[in-house]
Amino acid sequence: MDATVSRRQLLAASAGVGLFASACREATRSPTGIGDPFASDRVRLQHLLRRAAFGANRDDLTRYDGQSLEAVVEDLLAYDSVDDSELESKLDANAYDFERPVDMVAWWLTRMSHTRRPLQERMTFFWHGLLTSGLSKLAGDLRPLLVRQNEFLRSHALDTYDVILKGISRDAAMMLWLDMHTNTKEHPNENYARELMELFSLGIGNYSEEDVREAARAFTGWSLSREAGGYEFRSMQHDYGEKTLLGQTGTWDGDDVIDIILQQPAAEQYLAERLWTYFAYPEPEPEVVQPVAQALRSSGFSMREGLRSVLLSEAFYSPRSYRARVRAPVDLAVSVVRMLSLETDGRIVAQACHQMGQDLFSPPNVAGWPGGAAWLGTSTWFARVNATAAAVNGTGGRGATSIPQADPSTLLIEEPSTAEEAVDGLAALLVDGHLSEEVRSFLIEFALDGAPDWRSLGVEERAERLRGLLILLLASPEYQLA
């Protein structure tokens, strides 16, 4: 099976995404299930933007209208040329204090919510869940180190993996998180060496305990100092002796370890699987991962090439990929902020994410957030619905910490003239128009609530019904999945 040909065929079929307004009118109406979820180009676009960005609001759909998926993917990947100065000004104006965890989180959520480079933030978020570091070991003036790490991951988000690994191995927040700064010749600390191989590059089963010990020796002397402002090599603490790592013997240091690790076929396999699991679906078939691994290998571990391979893969747009992921709290919150174009400084969003069970910069452990079913608890379900309702109904109060009542009419291209148009228009935007006929009828009935027709409702009543539909769709099971 030649994946490239299949991909071409797929993309050749892409004849533009169609006007959103007409898409609203032609919203899919399948009787029970949804058959092939990717029957329309618009759904492929919405799926792509849910995974590679933070969802698609009305403006996103309008902007990409008529473009092929390939063009959209290239546009997302080419974020370096996108001017994001408006976001930077907004962040400066909000004056975040990076010694306060809530401000750190609010700062990043605001980036995600208002950036014009969503793929860069998405990828930074991916790295935060893979090359984890957390606040638990950082107090006071050490906390900004984690923001510095975040900036590193952002600026190298699609770089080659050796650059990323060599950088993160010298990153102060990472070194503190995994005790690298205490790794001395006399007392090698295996913490970083172990996680480097287990979680960051090879996966369990592709290295031995002996490899962990040898790699730890190679990283001895990699330390920190306040004078240096971070990483500092202490030659007195470094073990210059011979080490044997993954079958290769030499007087290796930490960078050599990374080079040797990335020579292993297990490395591209592992990374390809992590990318696939995050962007497409968990436990992928080997034949689906293989082209991604190949793209990484042949490009010298370019993350840009690896990601492009995922996003243009046929399997990325297969039924197995559709609604296959539970939206993480951060995903859910940011998607709602972007969908409703909410203006916030992120602090209230940080609070909502906390209630839903995800605090940026505080992953539960070195393995990051487990995701999937772990997001769905009863408490966190209440938090998801309550936060959604607050985003639509408004929070009351004034100033940067409040949210005004949403005006759903701004989500629709045209003022609906029937309850059907109201339901179909919002469903097309929020849940790909993929509602069962049963649910669609139920929502139409809900919108009318006994009124003979939509036009018989007053302006205020119509706005209230639209807000009701908006909350129901944003809190729906469909929307909890991505």
Binding site: T32, G33, I34, D179, T182, H187, E190, R194, E195, E198, Y322, R323, A324, V326, Q355, G357, N365, V366, A367, G372, A373, A374, W375, L376, G377, T378, S379, T380, W381, F382, A383, V385, N386, A389, A390, N393, S436, E438, V439, F442, L443, F446, D449, E464, R467, G468, I471, L472, A475, S476, P477, E478, Q480, L481
Partner: protein, 413 residues
Amino acid sequence: MISRRDFVKRGVALVTLGTAGAALPPVFKGAFAVRASDATADAPGRTLVIVQLAGGNDGLDTLVPYRDPVYQNLRPSLAVPESAVLPLDDEWGLHNSLASLRPLWDEGRLALVHAVGYPNPDYSHFKSMRIWQTGDPAGAVGDGWLGSYLDRLEAEEHDPFHGFNVGRSTPPELRSGGAPIPSVTDPSSYSLERLAPREAESRRRQTALLKLYEQFPKDTPYAALLETTAQDAVASSSVVQEAAGASTAADFPETPLGQGFQLLAQLIASGVNLRVAHVTLGGFDTHSGQVADHRALLQALGDALAAFYDEMRALGKERDVLTMTWSEFGRRVEENASGGTDHGAAGPLLLLGGAINGGFYGEPPALTDLTNGNLKYTVDFRSVYASVLEQWIGVPSEEILGGRFSQLNGLLT
């Protein structure tokens, strides 16, 4: 017997009939009414409370070999002085921050199991936790060792309160294929808030939302879990909130752990059929500054456990509730250069309850016979699990644990 679908449907039906509710939307009260009346037919079962000491509890600082010169030598700055130990026998004593547990030891209601662990100990928090949570030293990703039990209960009869977690998401040891459990941090926010400014419209939206979950096609991986989560959330909300409003006889500490135990006590008092509950106390990864941090942690643990036991006794339920601690590993015998200890292996485990036959279980660890500087285990953790499953819960342990393990003899009176 009542199926999950009937259960929720009846709840929703009451809404459409217009059952009035005061503070809470009627759909919750309806669901509760159905559950409570059905539950009365059931004899209340025994409850197992799991306390996870996350981060790796230092066993030698908990159950102290206070006269062992090896201990003094390897822990020059950390060794608990004899004056700060509550001796239980000539060799072992409790850290005095656990003083609240001393009366329970004297009454014979506290069991201390020495040196619990497993072969080839793993020093990664993540992997060792997974091993304890699944009951499988291969650490395979799978159901939790208690999740399998919850699935079994679920197959017999649906009750959202078979399991309960104080926390945000289902702990892995209680995770299963088909039985999500309520996870609660703060009872006051454990409900749907108003979904509209107008009360009537808010209720209309809440009812409609549950309908969307019920009708969501079940052909995607998380669809069934979404539906049951929403339904259990709604069905458990008013029970939890009402229970949390009741006063308690015991004085629970103001710590998060104390408040968590208070909530468990209140739920048990409310009469729900709680079989397995879970609470977590984190912060045991004491690589540095251990003396003060660990003292505070043990104080919080001992005070909460004692208050919980007192409350169970006041309810006359102390023989129906068993509390068990675990931690992913103990710590290195020799202290490190930062006034702390690094990841270790075997450690003691504590079981508490009115039906417990108190005292020591298992062989004490030898501080002179270490592996990589760590204590060797003398009791396999699966022996403790097997004892709890067979003797307390009353289910066969072989299938759940993937083998037969010797049990702690006479753990219960």
